[in-house]
């Protein structure tokens, strides 16, 4: 087993939010005690609904935002302070891909110029080498130099996301954080980009943190999947096993809510209640007001993430190793 490239130990981050113009400021715990390890060359998928803290986790892991508590280690080293030389060197090794490629690209610059920009910023290679590298990157994402001369507006959604991917790969990073990279794309184009990402990962030995609300896409690309609910990880385990045998009541509901062609909704778990509000997190287990199995203890005591056998960890009072894992 290889050592983790990225190690996140119990990070927390809260924001202060006002309700209304004269409302009292309240702390919103976006991320609360999240620990993760991502091994070299592997993909960790992070799933959850809006407000679950998955994007904030991604931003903290990349150092775009400091955690209030806890720390992130990259390749054994703690994250350097923002703005320092060490930070720049570290940042060249980790990149991010966002959901909206049009928002991430400058509409007034040809895309080849934008792919070249990280090389200029980090001073990598001679100008001639940089040109070659841009051509190489365009080919790597299955585009041609002709595409490089175009402006973002003249490319399709899938092509734009390829450009964003090429730019992210320019500095030869070891680690990519992908935040909903294919959510804005049509199904057929989504499959192209997912395949491309998997190929590039295999060729370049990339390590990925893949954030998405789409369970199918996450399973397709991940080795390990973590499910978040209101800032905490409620379940984590290997991608195949997790969705085949979800243990946490929330994961079960999520898997059950994912519609499948050729299957009529028989025995679907439909959760009652509203989506969680991070500004008003319930006491005890944050999921208990919507949980079909909640007991009195769930309302008062926060469950901790603990192993239930194999590589699966679950944060639920009702799921213990002996009870449910014997079948697997």
């Amino acid at each position: 087993m290889s050592a983790p490239l990225v190690e996140v130990s119990s990070i927390s981050r809260s924001y202060s939010m006002r309700s209304g113009m004269f409302g009292r400021a309240a702390a919103v715990h976006a991320v609360d005690g999240v620990s993760l390890g991502i091994r070299k060359g592997e993909t960790l998928g992070l799933v959850g609904e809006s407000g679950s803290g998955k994007s904030t986790t991604g931003r903290i892991v990349l150092g775009l935002e400091p955690p209030d508590l806890g720390d992130v280690r990259f390749d054994g080293q703690p994250m350097a302070a923002v703005g320092t030389k060490a930070w720049r060197a570290q940042r060249a090794r980790m990149q991010m891909i966002f959901q909206d490629p049009l928002g991430a690209l400058d509409r007034r610059l040809p895309v080849a110029t934008q792919i070249r920009e990280p090389l200029d910023i980090h001073g990598l290679g001679t100008p001639a080498e940089r040109e070659d590298r841009v051509g190489e990157l365009l080919r790597a994402v299955e585009l041609t130099p002709a595409h490089g001369a175009r402006y973002p507006g003249a490319l399709s959604g899938g092509q734009r996301q390829r450009i964003v991917l090429a730019r992210a790969l320019a500095t030869k990073p070891d680690f990519l954080v992908c935040d909903e990279p294919v959510s804005a794309l049509d199904v057929s184009i989504q499959a192209q980009v997912v395949n491309l990402l998997a190929d590039l990962q295999a060729q370049l030995g990339l390590t990925l943190l893949f954030i998405s609300h789409d369970l199918r896409v996450v399973r397709q690309i991940s080795n390990v999947v973590a499910v978040m609910y209101l800032g905490r990880i409620v379940e984590i385990g290997s991608a195949d096993d997790l969705f085949a045998h979800p243990e946490h009541p929330y994961t079960r509901a999520l898997v059950s809510a994912s519609p499948a062609p050729g299957r009529r909704s028989a025995g679907r778990i439909v959760l009652t209640g509203d989506p969680p509000n991070p500004a008003a997190r319930p006491q005890g287990c944050a999921f208990h007001p919507r949980c079909p199995r909640a007991i009195a203890r769930c309302a008062s005591e926060v469950p901790t993430l603990s192993s239930v056998g194999g590589d699966r960890q679950v944060a639920c009072h009702l799921v213990t190793g002996a009870e449910t894992r014997d079948a697997a």
Binding site: A191, V194, R219
Partner: protein, 327 residues
């Protein structure tokens, strides 16, 4: 039997660019029909055109009949009775479909006064009944709330209540759950199918999500580049898709269980409507395309009593699929 809604040869062009190129569709009483396809395939435009909701510069031709009555070119006062009264529509972004400065009561009452001719106490009672029907807790108090005081899922429930206000025969739901989280999507879809059953209403569910359509519709029509390419009962379409595009869409969907396989992505992109060839619009991306595919656009032809496909290579395509299944 006369279908409830019957669309024939419906075409739409914006500034000379054809975006809808001859759609034939029938909807029976109480039926749930799914429309799937990627962005730009014409799923929404079909219904916006049918209801006369497109901008003036759109050129609409063909025929749309409701109970045998022609809607295209019908006078405005007649359309006003039909829109919201006989055919109601809900959209992807419910928050922008409601007026932010009016209470829910005001907006629901407007629909009730317009289509049901209710006044005074009767309006309030009916508004309460509708909110209860769509599962809004504490309906009496929530009537005086404004849209921003509700969550996304609740606003979509209110939109559904407003759509039901006119007791419509047909509900057109255009990507009703796309902006919602997975667990809330499941709630809204369940609500839609339960109100449909209770009110005996027909529904057209427009979605890019094959799974959503498969689970909630009796029949599915797949659209590509302004045309319907395949139409079938939903269980058959997903078990045995015939059109290469329908096969491609299903193959591109990552499975949630079973062994992981490489996704069969459809190469290329959707054609530009301004530069469409005379032949089959899918031919440039199709693995089975042969020479005649480029000559003329195939028409929808029956392959079974309840299935139609627009593909001259349908037989080859079916064999290819059966061949892979037998391996």
């Amino acid at each position: 039997m006369v279908p409830l809604v019957s669309i024939q040869g419906l075409s739409v062009a914006f500034n000379g660019v054809a975006v809808l190129r001859g759609v034939d569709l029938a909807l029976g009483k109480g039926e749930a029909l799914g429309l799937v396809g990627e962005s730009g395939s014409g799923k929404s435009v079909t219904w916006l055109a049918a209801l006369g909701l497109l901008p003036r510069h759109a050129k609409v031709t063909g025929s749309v009949r409701l109970h045998g009555r022609e809607l295209l070119g019908a006078p405005a006062h007649e359309l006003d009775q039909i829109r919201g009264g006989r055919i109601a529509m809900i959209f992807q972004d419910p928050a922008s479909a409601l007026n932010p400065v009016l209470t829910i009561r005001k907006q629901l009452s407007e629909a009730l006064a317009l289509h049901r001719d209710l006044q005074g106490e009767a309006v309030k009672a009916e508004a309460m009944r509708l909110l209860n029907l769509v599962g809004t807790p504490d309906a009496a108090r929530r009537l005086s709330a404004y849209p921003h005081e509700f969550s996304g899922g609740q606003v979509q429930r209110i939109m559904i209540a407003m759509a039901l206000a006119g007791n419509p025969d047909v509900l057109i739901a255009d990507e009703p759950t796309t902006a919602l989280d997975a667990t809330i999507q499941a709630q809204i879809l369940e609500l839609l199918s339960s109100v449909r059953r209770e009110m005996g209403m027909a529904m057209v569910l427009i979605s890019h999500d094959l799974g959503v359509v498969a689970e909630n519709c009796d029949r599915v029509a797949v659209m590509y580049a302004g045309r319907i390419v395949e139409q079938a009962p939903s269980n058959q379409l997903f078990a045995d898709p015939v059109h290469p595009y329908a096969q491609g869409l299903i193959g591109a969907l990552p499975p949630l269980d079973g062994p992981r396989r490489r996704l069969t992505a459809i190469p290329g992109t959707v054609p530009d409507p301004a530069r469409m060839s005379d032949g089959c619009a899918y031919a440039p991306r199709c693995a089975l395309a042969a020479e005649p595919c480029g000559l003329a656009a195939p028409t929808l032809a029956p392959i079974a009593s309840d299935r139609t496909v627009a593909c001259i290579r349908a037989e080859a395509s079916r064999r290819a699929l059966l061949g892979t299944a037998a391996e």
